[in-house]
Symmetry: C2
Subunit: 417 residues, 2 copies
């Protein structure tokens, strides 16, 4: 059944390796239904400033879709823009819905994380209260995997695959010399430890890698950590610790905050010295070197975690694409104020279906790593975590290389279009 | 013609993504000739302590060789051990050659960089002076590409491919918001800018990426850099700068040294403030933010540059393997005190041959990026650099994945074997 409308799609919040696969899913499905697809340049903020990308033209070639799926970051551009409450600023919403009408928009699909779902929630509440039939659909996206209402979020699997792959390589690199050393690998995730826990996917049964994992869900017990490292060093040369950037001291300060304050001279480190390095990993490397006298080093995986599409998870990209398409089908079916979501059917062999979750149940909530996924001593994850996360990193994407580097879709001009 | 001897092989210095491919080449070629292959556990230092790996057993399965080629870091372990001068410590060399004789070693192949070639040079000088017929062969290896006597070094191509791939992904990640930002990506290479220059392989004709490259061969002109960044920001949102960790101020101090001193409170930064961050990239991010008021960030590629075998260059691994095999053939042919080397035949299509270079011409020398490869303004590389480096990153390796992560050869036990 042909759908004679315009579909408006936007990307919001931090970029990932999978967010463009969701855009590809939205575009392909909408086009199949006969709809036209408009893109928000730089999210809802850009759209409201009149910046629209005509995707029917921009993605005219079927190969564009293949490249788009393999291109990291947000093809349309992104924003970090918090909408006002509908009750407090009706003029804002009148303007937005007038712009939807001007562009003949029957459905708005917004690909993003927590804040993006808040945007859809507010637009949906306004539409509901004012009788608009514009359908408002959220498509989940975040490497942090902290959205509720879905088994997991697109972007997480690819980030986890990069982290696990890199962790395995770092462990080999750390082991080449015949001396005692401790390596701290700092991983993203300020409030939830899904990504740090994923480092453990580098390990195999009976051969854990990394040796320890520190999650933001567990307050740091520095003495217990140093004791554990000492015990490990007594029987092996190389200890590798994955540490979330969000780990906190008992007093609630982030390790990296404490380290930064130390470097500013406003605070001394645990040993009464001004730390010369900041960062959670650097802080722990410095403390461990001082306490145990062994070689230490700190590695930050940094931005690469969210943009390393050259080692994206095929499962992740397929799910991201499916959730984009499912959002269009839901809108055509008259659904609104919902987020598309993954419903896991089985762990192994991994099977899933897409489903819909009321957006009000999702917005402004965060999902942490549950206790049963965390080792009793708080310094690792359990087999249940592995069973949950392993399928999400499986499968490799055949990148298209040109001149020895991955080929991506041509970027949009940064200038006003 | 069968070669009835034992071949002793070692790996030394920093690990790379290609050093195990050279080990595979040595092993395969020696076995084909009928020789037995002994490995030095932890380099010459471990060997002299009696630590030998019997590779005929350890690498008994043909699949082992395939996995070895795809495994990063030094399978045999490594050391950083400087031999004494033969004239100053004859006892050391008597001991070493007695151990070679005990193990029926007819040839020693040592895979490494500058210091490793110094080891082969000294052993060769002793053998020459004392009539030993043990053949001493160097196999080049270093991501830094700073060895003389060879067109380039194995390990460089894979590191450059990771850097260029990542740089392209970082550039996409940096461009998602509609605001001005400058990203500094810190790249290895303390004395030579081959790796930092390789960042430019991310760019395509007419679309340079990164925008600027700072090499250790060029002293930083901070005012000129800030002026260039300002000009770039006037016409585009996102500026990405690749910077070698080895870049120095006019007074000869490393940028990262200056930053570390600032953080220690012993030195103020250019703006009279104590810097709270160290590292070359962090230093420049801090200076740029202070001077231009825009968003800045710093990313360190760190250890991943030398161990990211999941995105290794097929050309690099093939050359590493060939140079290992060529070393065995040279030894069988009676050559000694030589390093195997790459002789480039043609740029495009890329063709090469292996050759031999006298080890005395190699040891303790370093090769910098020549002037004609550096842009006139000192903030980029030329088309000649691209022509030189591009072929070395071409071709992808089909990794073997298990559970979503690359599968590597089983590591040797760290305990004394």
């Amino acid at each position: 059944m042909a759908w004679n409308t315009n579909v408006l799609v936007g990307q919001s919040g931090g970029p990932t390796a999978a967010i463009n696969a969701s855009l590809a899913g939205v575009f392909d499905t909408a086009r199949d239904l006969g709809a036209h697809v408009l893109g928000m340049r730089y999210g809802i903020e850009g759209f409201l400033a009149g910046r629209i990308v005509y995707l029917d033209r921009t993605l005219g070639d079927p190969m564009d879709i293949e490249l788009l799926r393999r291109t990291p970051a947000s093809f349309l551009g992104s924003c970090r823009f918090k909408l006002p409450e509908p009750e407090e600023d009706p003029a804002f919403f009148e303007d937005a819905f007038a712009k939807f009408e001007d562009a003949h928009v029957g459905a708005v699909l917004y690909i993003g994380g927590n804040d993006s779902m808040d945007t859809i929630d507010k637009l949906g509440r306004w539409a509901d209260a004012h009788g608009s039939d514009v359908r408002l659909i959220g498509i989940p996206k975040t490497i942090d995997n902290d959205l509720v209402g879905t088994d997991h979020t697109p972007g997480f699997g690819s980030a986890a695959k990069f982290i696990a792959t890199t962790m395995r390589e770092i462990e080999r690199d750390s082991s080449v010399y015949d001396l005692k050393s401790v390596t701290f690998v700092e991983i993203m995730g300020r409030d939830a430890g899904w990504l740090a826990g994923s480092a453990c996917l580098a390990g195999a049964l009976g051969n854990p890698c990394p040796d320890l994992v520190l999650l933001p869900e567990v307050t740091l017990n520095q003495e217990a950590l140093l004791d554990r490292i000492s015990l490990l060093l007594a029987r092996k040369n190389t200890v590798v610790v994955a540490v979330s950037e969000g780990v906190r001291h008992r007093d609630g300060t982030l390790l990296c905050e404490a380290a930064a304050e130390a470097a500013d001279g406003t605070r001394l480190d645990a040993f009464g010295h001004v730390a010369s390095l900041s960062g959670t990993g650097r802080y722990l490397a410095s403390v461990t070197r001082a306490a145990l006298g062994c070689k230490t080093r700190a590695i930050e995986l940094s931005t690469l975690q969210r943009c390393a599409s050259h080692v994206a998870s095929a499962t992740d990209l397929a799910e991201a694409y499916a959730l984009g398409g499912a959002g269009v089908l839901a809108a055509q079916d008259g659904k609104t104020s919902v987020m598309t979501a993954i419903k896991r059917i089985f762990d192994k062999p991994y099977l899933y279906d897409t489903t819909l979750t009321p957006i009000a149940d999702v917005a402004n909530k965060a999902r942490k790593v549950p206790r049963e996924f965390i080792a009793p001593d708080g310094m690792g994850v359990t087999a249940a975590f592995d069973r949950y996360a392993r399928p999400l990193i499986e499968g490799e994407v055949s990148s298209t290389y040109q001149g020895g580097v991955p080929h991506h879709i041509k970027a949009l001009e940064a200038d006003r279009s």
